[in-house]
Amino acid sequence: MKYSGMTARSFVEEDVDHSDFYTRLYERMDEIKTLGLHRKLELKQIKQGELNGLPFTLKDSICSKDDPTYAGSKILEGYRPPYDATVAMKIKEAGGNIFAKTHQDEFAFGTGSLNCAFTTPKNPWDEERCCGGSSGGAAGLAASLDLPHINLGESTGGSISEPASFCGVVGLTPTYGLVSRHGLISFANSLDKIGPIARNVEDVALGLDIISGKDRKDQTTVGTSEKYTEALGEDVSGTRIGLPEGYFEISDEEVSETVLKATEELEDLGAEITKVKMDMTEASLPTYYILAPAEASTNLARYCGMRYGMEDKIEGSFKDYFSKIRGKGFGEEVKRRIMIGTYTRMAGYRDKYYVKALKVRQKIIDDFKRVFKKVDILAAPTAPIVAPKIEELRKMKPVEQYKLDKLTAPVNLAGMPQISIPCGFHKKMPVGLHLMADHFHEKSILKLAHAYENRRGKIDYPGI
């Protein structure tokens, strides 16, 4: 059986000898270990069922019962959750196997996965460059593991799209509330979204089929779940595509040109392209960097050296003990964001920062709603640059690093679905085309991405 290059969807449909396949999978995982993308899990038993034993990876912040789950943080080192996240349960019930956790920025705070406490994931296209973040390991694995599988990542402000773009793979961020967050180690409750990352559109659609749906363990799930794979192959002519002003101008010229060329191909497929003006793009990034750390600073209050994770000899007052453990267990960026998030919610500053940002967020949502009355889909570069060198990124100041989220923060604040799909190269590194749509219009972006992918043809992934 030739597994190399097989899609997850074909794997589900074909009769595969599992013992043989999983041996090959684990060998391959050892071969690509030097990239620092994953932590292998032992499978006690290989499940089959409806998904025919399809392999999955989970971002390190998604809980699966008894499997190491550290969210990229020293403060959770050794943690083995006593329960499954809803997405993990859905995978297992459908007959999939979770064979690895993928590395990420600590608590998903980062744009290059450089803030991971355990390793720095390297980009399979150029090992001196980063994978993007925060779901960097997941995107890197999709690019380097040439065997059928699906990776689950998570996005708060662009953490699926951006690494997918940097690694030349497909990443889908669903509408907020389409996929249950139960069992996801929270970053920011009103922004976190779990979504699939794979080499092709079919496989991310399959991933979404499996994980979406109402969950009584997550009040924010909305319960409109469809069969997303069914949308693929439908006609896309007449689709109204908007190119948002500002998104192309701030990107590297070559990145913009590559994406514009891709939109011309969409036009050849029958789509209608127009330029659209958006008013809230500039305001989105500071809004995001107020709201996300504000929510994170309350979520991260639970890590205090009790019940799970990092512990010490219990002595002194609770304030001394908690402060000591947290000072020791959290990395620099986590402390920085907790400090910022605490400050913007404090008496005297709350209205100026936190409440103000919540109001601006409503204006950002309104801005998208207005534009989606005129066009069906927005198309833009996913990230303004290609994957930067790890050393260059390390030298950047916090605000400069935050600016890498400039094109993904707006749509993430609005909780609207988005897909990043590779559309060419610059400096021998992949460039991502970002397609965004109104709430619950996953099918429109999936079918357009699929039509584009068929026209673009196959990508030659680097051999490792």
């Binding site: 050794g78 083995r80 006593p82 329960y83 509408t175 907020y176 509330g177 922004l191 009584r216 009040q219 924010t220 909305v222 500039e282 305001a283 500071p286 960097y289 107020i290 209050a301 009790m306 019940r307 799970y308 994770g309 512990e311 219990i314 007052s317 609770f318 304030k319 003990y321 908690f322 402060s323 000591k324 947290r326 000072g327 959290f330 620099e332 402390k335 920085r336 907790i338 400090m339 605490t342 400050y343 913007t344 404090m346 100026k352 103000k356 940002a357 919540l358 109001k359 601006v360 967020r361 409503q362 204006k363 949502i365 916090p398 605000v399 604040l413 609005a414 909780g415 609207m416 709430h439």
Partner: protein, 92 residues
């Protein structure tokens, strides 16, 4: 930003910082807060805050006892426990 302010934020967040970290975060926060001030220019007088991107409804379930985590399972991730209880530092 004054030094005392950094201490107050760190204390509210219960994080012990080293002197170097305090210096670093003070500089970074000044920089980041200045960047945040750009939002002052946006008129939000007639706008309500958006706590969620979509409408989220509060749903109640029937008040019925359901299966929950086994006590030993729930406690297996810590050494600091006694007689089926988690052990923590003194509150004073």
């Amino acid at each position: 930003m004054k030094d005392e302010e950094i201490d107050r934020v760190a204390s509210t967040a219960s994080i012990r910082l080293t002197e170097e970290e305090k210096k670093l975060f003070k500089k970074d926060m000044e920089n980041i807060l200045e960047w945040f001030s750009r939002l002052d220019e946006i008129d939000t007088q007639d706008t309500e805050p958006a706590f969620h991107p979509i409408d989220v409804k509060n749903e109640m379930r029937e008040d019925k006892v359901e299966e929950s985590l086994d006590r030993d399972e729930a406690m297996k991730n810590t050494k600091n426990k006694e007689d089926g209880f988690f052990k923590g530092p003194r509150i004073r």
